[in-house]
């Protein structure tokens, strides 16, 4: 992943990440959280991403920062997830946006990095209720990925 990205910080568990978006609308704290869940014995991690709201000390995805750095943010999220997967190679990671447009951003992030991703991570996309191997030209509703075994 050689795309331009922000410097980002991780907690010891590599489940929490923070970085700052800088642009015309200010210095905005961004949070990435990988939340562990288990369904019938299968563990996976949900990728959550949002802005830290100083006024309420909470995280939200309801703001649109418009800082003109979308690709840099996507590259930062992608690299944080790769760090996570490096540490937890047996764990599935699940990603979906809060709106179809935001899910599309995950699609863009995967597509942009597909040449590097495809050899190391198995990615599936949900399309019309069916999980299928990721293909660059299909718009999916959600994504699941896991590190390939070497």
């Amino acid at each position: 992943m050689n795309l331009d990205r922000y410097e980002y910080y991780a907690s010891d568990t590599l489940l929490n990440f923070e970085f700052y978006s800088d642009g015309p609308n200010g210095h905005i704290k961004k949070i990435i959280r990988l939340s562990p869940r288990n369904i019938n014995g299968t563990t996976y991690f949900n990728i959550g991403f949002g802005d830290y709201q100083d006024a309420t000390n909470s995280v939200s995805d309801q703001t649109i920062s418009n800082n003109g750095d979308r690709n840099r943010i996507l590259a930062t999220i992608a690299q944080a997830v790769l760090d996570f997967m490096e540490y937890y190679p047996d764990m599935m990671v699940y990603a979906v946006g809060s709106t179809p447009a935001r899910t599309r951003l995950y699609q863009i992030a995967i597509t942009k990095n597909w040449e590097e991703i495809k050899d190391t991570i198995t990615v599936f996309g949900l399309k019309d209720g069916v999980w299928k191997p990721f293909s660059k030209n299909i718009n999916y509703e959600a994504f699941l990925g896991i590190m390939k075994k070497v």
């Binding site: 992943m1 410097e7 980002y8 910080y9 991780a10 907690s11 010891d12 568990t13 590599l14 489940l15 929490n16 990440f17 923070e18 949070i31 959280r33 939340s35 562990p36 869940r37 288990n38 369904i39 019938n40 014995g41 299968t42 563990t43 996976y44 949900n46 959550g48 949002g50 909470s58 995280v59 939200s60 995805d61 690299q79 944080a80 790769l82 760090d83 490096e86 540490y87 047996d90 599935m92 699940y94 979906v96 809060s98 198995t122 599936f124 949900l126 209720g129 069916v130 999980w131 299928k132 191997p133 959600a142 699941l144 896991i146 390939k148 075994k149």
Partner: protein, 62 residues
């Protein structure tokens, strides 16, 4: 149907090789495990995965 929050066993020894990661480790990064926004997102993911299941191919890789 059993759904639980998973405790994470973290091996600090593994973290010592920091060159493996692009992240900068910081004890200033909070644990957002109880953040309502992220809990809601995780809950929504469960609903979808309960409905559609996991890809069989991925389960075989675990």
């Amino acid at each position: 149907m059993k759904i639980i929050d998973m405790p994470i066993n973290f091996d600090p020894a593994k973290k010592k090789d920091k060159s493996r990661f692009k992240a900068i480790f910081s004890n200033k990064v909070k644990d957002y495990g109880n953040e309502p926004y992220f809990l809601k997102k995780a809950k929504e993911s469960e609903e979808l995965l309960l409905k559609y299941g996991f890809p069989k191919e991925l389960l075989e890789k675990k």
